[in-house]
Amino acid sequence: MRSPINSAISFGIYSLSEQSVTLEFGHEISEELHHQISSFDRLIHSNTFAGFKTTVPAYSTLSIFYDILEVSQSDMPGEDCFTKVSNYLHQLQSEQLTQPNTPNNSITNITIPTCYGGEYGEDIAEVAQLNNLSIDEVISLHSTAIYKVYMIGFVPGFAYLGGMDQRLATPRKPSPRKAIPAGSVGIAGEQTGIYPLETPGGWQLLGRTPIKLFDANKAQPSLLKAGDQVKFQPIDHNQFNQYHQ
């Protein structure tokens, strides 16, 4: 049910700072909102305004950053920069209603090879026990679901994934670990995620992937981006080690 989505796009705008505004599309996590935000994000990137810098998509919002001096010197209508940018974005929204949808045909599917359990997934037994599952069932539930990347946040390359089977939901560790290695795959409450960098954290660890989630030397440093679809593929220790060769 994606075709009539254009006509449904509506948002409120508020000032985030002198150099950014946030568009608010709703107040919940849903595929529908995610789709609206992604299409408006693409629309802005193909119709930028003087001073436009970048955007930050989130669950229900899209923040837009700009150079205030360029906006103030532009001939966009409005008495101040916030009004100029707001007017422009509302204009873009209303013009878009009359244009044919530009569907995003390029949904990227990414498979994350993951070595579950053992030294890489120290908490898998605890997750199984708390949810009355066997370890194999935990691996199976976690690796058969298809996840959607709603947003990137927290640390560079960290993807907020939607779509975890709620039978796996597990509270965070009572006290966080001082260092969780890069590539760790874990569960916190009702979400699952992958640590791109070594950071402290309270997630329940299920396993680890040998692939890099963030590489500053690449043109697109984050492996995942908002809108991607993700699947975990169980691998064993030997396969894990082969990635490092």
Binding site: L16, E18, T22, V56, F65, F82
Partner: protein, 330 residues
């Protein structure tokens, strides 16, 4: 031009004005904490505002000129000295090769910016020379400076830099008889921060808001380049909705679940899920960059329109100043 770090101090990093293009991949802005001081140091040399500088935290650092240098510094964390000779801030200095320079304590602030003509030549990573230590990217090898590190400036000097250099060059330390009065751009009370109410401002109790705008808040010990913990009376909520993670930016003041506030700074996350009480006016972010744990600060609310106008006025003044320096060395 080249320097060698003899003593790095508590935290010294290479920074420019920050990295904006990868926020959607959760790469923070980073960059200098006090952009007015960093820009002042660059401007005094005829460098572009965005040229890479060293951000020193407090004093107790030392470097040596491995070649003749044209340098300038600004900020409130330290005073530079070459032995017994005090180096004056906010003006261009010629320093002959072999001179050793120490940073001695200036208790009024925390960060000091060293610029050299041409700007420190470190590779651009994701569009910026700023260091982001958590991901080990940018700046000098993605990390804080260490003893023995050798930093070189770009040979590509601006016309103004070349003229300033030739006017001061000689066998001894020499300096220009003019300076930039950075403090003239800022309010006299450097602990009173102007803020604009943020989107969730009305989620908080009226009494908490009155307290927020009248009581002092003290920077906690855990404060760093990511954010400042503000200690004081708790900020209570009347609307207890869950906020979905959404875009935040340096200067955003969030209220955590226990009622304590965090002011986000240069290395902050790009998204956050705590309700926001206020956004620091951009013109006052440089003042915030000089705070240190234990400082007590106050907030004063202004309108979004006023904040925008103050920013545009400040930039116009800085542009005028830059132009005046350029004309002086035509």
């Amino acid at each position: 031009m080249q320097i060698r770090i003899v003593k790095p101090g508590i935290l010294s990093t290479v920074q420019d004005l920050g990295r904006m293009q990868y926020l959607s991949q959760a790469v923070p802005v980073s960059g200098v904490m006090d952009s007015l001081s960093a820009r002042t140091a660059n401007m005094a040399l005829g460098n572009p505002d965005n040229a890479a500088v060293i951000e020193f935290t407090y004093a107790d650092a030392e470097f040596i000129a491995e070649s003749d240098l044209l340098l300038a510094y600004a900020g409130d964390g330290a005073i530079l000295q070459a032995g017994e000779t005090v180096i004056l801030e906010e003006r261009p200095y010629f320093i002959p090769a072999g001179t050793s320079i120490q940073l001695v304590n200036n208790p009024t602030g925390s960060r000091t910016y060293l610029a050299i003509a041409g700007g420190f030549d470190v590779p651009e990573v994701l569009g910026s020379r700023s260091t982001y230590i958590t991901a080990g990217l940018g700046g000098f090898k993605g990390r804080a400076l260490q003893m023995g590190d050798v930093l070189t400036a770009s040979d590509n000097l601006s016309y103004t830099s070349t003229k300033i250099l030739s006017s001061l060059k000689g066998a001894h330390i020499n300096f220009a008889h003019w300076s930039i009065a950075r403090r003239m751009f800022q309010p006299a009370d450097n602990k009173r921060i102007r803020i604009v109410p943020a989107h969730e401002f009305n989620w908080f109790h009226g009494i908490s808001i009155v307290n927020f705008l009248s009581e002092g808040y003290t920077l906690g010990q855990r404060s760093n380049r990511m954010g400042y913990h503000l200690e004081g009376g708790p900020i209570n909520r009347i609307i207890k909705n869950e906020l979905l993670s959404t875009g935040v930016t340096p200067g955003t003041i969030q209220v955590a679940g226990d009622g304590t506030m965090v002011m986000l700074m240069a290395d902050c996350q790009t998204t956050g899920g705590y309700p926001r009480i206020a956004q620091v006016a951009s013109v006052d972010m440089p003042l915030c960059g000089q705070f240190k744990p234990g400082d007590t600060i106050y907030f004063e609310d202004i309108s979004r329109q006023t904040a925008e106008m103050l920013y545009i006025e400040r930039e116009a003044e800085l542009l005028q100043l830059r132009e005046a320096i350029r004309l002086k060395y035509l």
